[in-house]
Symmetry: C2
Subunit: 223 residues, 2 copies
DNA sequence: CGCGCATTTCGATGCAAACCGAAGGATTGA
DNA sequence: TCAATCCTTCGGTTTGCATCGAAATGCGCG
């Protein structure tokens, strides 16, 4: 029998800036090596290794050995959702350099929230889907939605979705299996380009055109 | 312009067992003095005062001076929702004594999640309301819901609600203004008794009878 | 007005843990 | 088989901070 949840044990893992930096990096859903994550956190590989082993113990991340590399990855959507929810209550670091400011704006505009779309674009798409009746208010795909999205080139969509609170917009956006398959479709169709070193998604000219026609909203110049 | 949220800053506040214990205590929504919270966390009042001042700085709690007492309270529903979401990913402390086991069972059965009902009872009520069409899947009150609940004695209900993830049931339950007004109505009608030293709600005979007739589910003996 | 209680401030102490560098195991490629 | 790379383990150092007690402040009550 478990008693009150041990808030402190989970929070202690996050409380270290180095671990937080590594987890933020892992939030893009990809796998990274200990050396790469050490560079992100500005610490030595040996220190990063110790952190990673603690996060493995708590089940927050998984490891996939491949030769002499070990690729670390977030354990799954629940952990990602947990991290995003903490971002909601976090004070936010100050962006100082022009580069940081640009990156911050791009991150708020459109990003991958582990496996689905987030940011202004993600929220706008989700609300558009609800407004058109293509997904329910509980974020499940409707009959009409499956048909209409199929005509737009989105096939093999999952039925079940869920809401995920967006820390930059403070509104719900589409997540869950449906959110994942929709994001995969958009990336496969070339609507967005992934930034190789962050969660940022940059809309392509094709994506801008499609979204303008679909959402009746012109995103050009918004970032 | 804010950059990536500073996960570590928020988590560091929670990472201390003393602060976590005080925050868990504050999750019942009531106001508590520094001395009372010090007793909960098993520390000296001077230490508790230092913790409280840090939490004030981050805006997690507010203070209401009354004479020589200063009552500390959670800053609002967003902070409460944040704490509950962390509970979802926390390992959970081991309950040892028979008293702890009983308290843990009661907490999972029915509790106040800051200002609304949670636990098995809270989730069952929420899902029942959705199933009957009294609230939408997005947790807003419907026309029929307002009428039907009015006949059951719930007046002055808010229209707008939202989902809140239940850490013990791992399902959504009704929160937001609607959830708050519903909980207030149930408490005012004497369906539950508040435990003076915790978030636990204990159904009264009246409450058990009403819920049995309403939910077609007999809760007697479930705790 | 002065005592008592709740609270806060300050200085000192002690412990937990983040960090690094060196060393060792594992895997790849030459 | 040997060198290079990636990762981990271990020992030692240092820093951050939770904690306490003592003293100061603020408020109510007799």
């Amino acid at each position: 029998m478990r008693a009150d949840p041990d808030l402190a044990a989970a929070a202690a893992l996050l409380a270290d800036p180095s671990r937080a930096a590594m987890l933020t990096r892992l939030l893009d859903g990809r796998g990274w090596t200990a050396t790469e994550l050490a560079k992100v956190a500005a610490i030595r590989p040996s220190t990063a290794s110790a952190h990673l082993s603690r996060m493995l113990d708590l089940g927050w991340i998984t490891v996939h050995p491949q030769g002499r590399h070990r690729y670390f990855q977030l354990a799954g959507p629940p952990i990602a959702a947990f991290l995003e929810s903490i971002a909601l209550a976090s004070p936010g670091m100050k962006a100082r350099t022009p580069g940081e400011i640009r990156a911050s704006a791009a991150l708020r505009h459109c990003r991958l929230c582990y496996d689905h779309l987030a940011g202004r674009v993600g929220v706008a798409i989700s609300e558009h889907l609800i407004q058109r009746g293509w997904i329910t208010e509980a974020f499940h795909l409707t009959h009409e939605g499956r048909q209409a999205l199929g005509e737009l080139g989105f096939h093999s969509l999952a039925d079940e979705g869920r809401g995920c609170m967006d820390w930059s917009e403070r509104r719900l956006h589409l997540a869950g299996p449906l959110g994942r398959s929709l994001a995969e479709g958009a990336l496969a169709s070339g609507w967005f380009l992934r930034d190789p070193a962050s969660r940022i998604l940059r809309p392509t000219p094709l994506g801008l055109e499609r979204m303008a026609g679909w959402l009746h909203h012109d995103w050009a110049g918004a970032s």
